[in-house]
């Protein structure tokens, strides 16, 4: 199962939300209202369905960019709805599932059936919104990568894979660049060595983590040649994080 990530999103998201239609399938009126109100504040257009069959009716008439689906529905269950969505309707609309079950239950079956992500109740609206943005970005029309990432005196250009510190170019290898980019994209997250392997390089971890240590060390040295400030923090010897900006 792939790791779920909440990307650190910046202000452009509201614009991206403005034209997206979201179908909310939840039989509890209060929760449905809370979600709809929260999403509308973000700029999404929401339709609320209170049962599986009602959702099918809406789906037959309109297209949606994303579906928020509660599993426990009267009549047609959430899981059956997903099956029919992917099967009969041949739709690849991203689906985020709301579940009252806990993590120890078998979630794999759900993903096999075609859901893209899940949130357990009770949930934070902020988290749901972040996941919606992440799904839309993934599914969306050729979303351009963020043009640049900046942190203190460090600047990364994702189009050219160039990094500069105080204007001086850093000769980073491709792998070093990817690590730095990942850290900058998620400034508050702590990554373990294994995380960097799988997320930055998309490679399976083989039990050898000295490589990462060496790369981090190289990055630090290259930055240090131009700037005394710390950019990568080591946390307790087990993880790395982008250093906090000085207040």
């Amino acid at each position: 199962m792939s790791r779920r990530e909440i990307d650190d999103l910046r202000g452009t998201e509201n614009q991206r939300g403005a034209n997206s239609r979201i179908l909310i399938v939840e039989d509890n009126a209060q929760i449905s209202e809370i979600i709809a109100a929260g999403l509308r504040c973000e700029g999404f257009r929401c339709t609320q369905a209170y049962s599986g069959s009602e959702a099918m009716l809406y789906l037959a008439q309109t297209g949606y960019e994303l579906i928020v689906l509660d599993l426990m529905l009267p009549g047609l269950s959430g899981e059956e709805l997903i099956s029919r969505l992917r099967g009969e309707l041949c739709s690849s609309v991203p689906v985020i599932v709301l579940s009252a079950r806990d993590q120890l239950d078998h979630k794999l079956e759900l993903f096999a059936r075609g859901a893209d992500d899940y949130v357990t109740k009770p949930f934070e609206l902020a988290e749901l919104i972040a996941r919606i943005h992440a799904q839309l970005k993934r599914a969306g029309p050729a979303s351009e990568a963020e043009p640049a990432y900046r942190h203190k005196q460090l600047l990364l250009d994702s189009r050219t894979y160039h990094a500069t510190v105080k204007g001086h170019p850093l000769q980073l290898t491709r792998q070093e660049y990817r690590i730095l980019e990942l850290l900058l994209k998620n400034p508050s997250r702590v990554f373990t060595k294994q995380d960097l392997y799988t997320l930055a390089w998309d490679e399976p971890y083989m039990g050898e983590d000295k490589t990462i240590t060496v790369h981090i060390s190289n990055i630090r040295n290259k930055i240090k040649a131009h700037c005394e400030q710390s950019y990568i923090e080591t946390i307790w010897g087990i993880g790395f994080r982008l250093s906090r900006a000085q207040p």
Partner: protein, 316 residues
Amino acid sequence: MLAALLIVSLLLVLQTGYGLYYRRQIRDVGRQLDFIGKHDSFKLITTQLQSRELSRLVESCNELLRERRAQNQRFIQKNEEIHETIASLSHDIRTPLAALDGYLQLAERAEPVQERTEPVPERAEQASHRADYVRLARSRIKGMAKLIEELFLYTKLQNPDYRLELSTVDAAELLRHSLVMQLEPIAATGYEPELALPSQALVVGQAHAIERVFGNVLSNYVHHGEGRLTIHCRETESEWEFMFANPLPPGRTIDAERLFQRFYKADPARSEQTSGLGLTIVQSLVQKMKGSVRAEQLDQQFCLWIRWPKKREERV
């Protein structure tokens, strides 16, 4: 000729007499059973007759009656446990509920949100704006949600038929993730944990369950421990062992026997917003994964050992 007739009639009389006595014994047994049944008594059946068949019958009946008595005692004990549980829970849930409602009432009376110039208040005495009370209320809700969730998990784990789906997982990496997830509360203790972990520790288990176990152990340290947390890892022929140690506040003692019991709290006033189920859940989960857990107090240090079986091929 007459003698023979006399003997035969005597034998007949004796036989009939015995027969009648036998029937009376059986009737007596029947009456005792009726009495036991009607009055819910725990007497056992007694009989004077030494006949083999009857003795065996009576013994079988008594075996059933003993079992019935034992079942009854188990039932009473379970009932008591349920009542104890409800009493503990009642306190643990009502307290945050009262605080929750209290904060919301204060929010109703307070001023609406203004421009914030002071730092965000942590305690109720410092709160004065509506938004502050709402925030405090939300944190109580989070506490309650966690408590209730733990209770559900605990109940589920009590079912002996509930099984976890086991596979090979890296317990060391899961521990690192658990540490990272509790970065803030652990860092807030002011002590950096001392870690000696291998890059990999492949065990047979379930990823979420193991993360849960580590999460609860770390939570326990954050809430009850003092000083620096030390985590070491040791490999044996067939298992991986994780040891967690931390100093205890002076004067605090841990009852290692009762530590894993439901609702045990070192603090008798139950003042923390924890369920008291954390370590019980740890024990249940670890056992469901065929591992073992042990705790001990050595001087003023609290030590906890958790073992998981290694991946089959790696065993010597």
